[in-house]
Amino acid sequence: MAILEGKGVTKYFGGLAAVSNVDFHVDHGEVLGLIGPNGAGKTTLFGLISAAYIPKPGLIRFKGENITGLKPHHICRQGLARTFQSVKIFPNMPVINNVTLGVHFGTPERVPSAKATEEAARLLKFVGLSGMESIPARDLTLVNQKLVEVARALATKPEVLLLDEIMAGLNPTEIAQAMELVSKIRAQGITILMIEHVMKAIMSVCDRIMVLHHGEKIAEGTPQEIATSETVIKVYLGE
């Protein structure tokens, strides 16, 4: 069953269609990869799902309910969290407070602050950042800042997690660790939609892949189908 689906999702920036009439669906418990050349509209589609932008026209349904036009904080509280391609942490806060904020505000229930700190520490350990709780987030490496974002997103107890290029700029060892992290998140029953350029990672982690090009969906299928698809190869390598 589709936990998240979009119908005819479109977004214009001025005269340019950044995302154009895209239909998509993410099934419960799967990992869906979103790929495409630079400027294909992947991050814009994430923005549309997480309500940073409103599709016009278009419709987005989450858990069967129409969520088009809701505010970002509503979307988050309903169980749809995201990370950002260009890292957006709270730079001057200690790492742990970045995550604690997610625990406090990401769900409708009230969490006592001792419990919130405990939960945040657990999540930091889960993403592999234990021992860095009290360091100001700005002093972390880019890789670790991305992990803070993942922990912060997980703190909001999402059912669907949107990961926007968490592996960009990572070395092979770190990519392997990030892939393991994605599998660990999935094992917790969280559905994942991820944008990624690292092909090796996306091919082995995803159940299904969707390809965007110039704002349009040009292909969708299993990693094998995508890897052998002529349209996709043409888009990436030229004629």
């Binding site: 940073a52 942490i89 407070n97 997610g102 990401g106």
Partner: protein, 317 residues
Amino acid sequence: MNKQTLTSKNFLIPGTILLVGLLILVTLPLYSSIYTMIFLSSIFMYIVLTMSWVMFSGPTGQISLATAAFFGVGIYVAAILGTIMPLLVVVLIGGLASAGMAVLVGSLTLRLKGIYFAIFTFGLLELMKNLLLWFEIKFTGTRGRFVVVADYNTVYFFMLAILALTLLTAYLIRRSKFGLALQGIGEQEEAAEHIGINVTLVKVFTFAISAFFIGAAGTIMATRWTYVDPYIAFNMNFSFTPVLMAIFGGIGPLFGPVLGAVIFAYLEEILITKFPYYYMLLFGVVMVVSVLYLPNGLVGLIQKWRVRTAGGEHGNS
């Protein structure tokens, strides 16, 4: 993590100082001159204005120049309702009227970023002033109004109470998850929205709380002035002075704005009485020197000194 010991240690010493200080301030009218009382009321007013400004603009980084507008609303509440209601009620209404205006203005304009918000809030002040001027001349025929006078002791105690409440509120906000959310909004608003923080609500609410104290301070101060008109009530100095005081004191820890307001107000008083002709010149020199050499205010200086004496032990915190 020695958080427990840290907080209790942090509590004991300032707590005692605060208690003793409060005791001295409450019993002050018994043994001090009228001049001291009046002077202290002014200092309290400046602390309230500065602290309220910092409450909102400190964490969010959105510079509000609406302080004088909220202050003026409080003043006019005193002028209009002062004759028909008890003072306590008037002060409460003054605060609530300001807060109400902050909600209205805030929900319309808090999405403005950076300099646009500052300019809008400044424009609001001018708008209020000129609108009121037009109204008074057109409908009442006189520019000014008389305010029911309260004696200096009453003003002093009201001001002290407002000051205590302002500081307490600022402190509670700072250490609550609400304050953490406010800081998050200031540092990275988009991320704050996407982790479930209702950005507009948090901002408007804080803006309104800060306006409440500013308005209440305006109401009680008006009773000292006997006569007010739109130029007196909506004087732009009440917008800029708190900003300068906050910068002078330093915005980080809570005692920064307090320190800034106290020293600044004291300096102003000394200069204006001792050197009436060179007052503005000297004041300007002090400002320039403090901006050049104290980029983080007095608090920054103290922290630097602390780090040096502690051997850089807490250099990062």
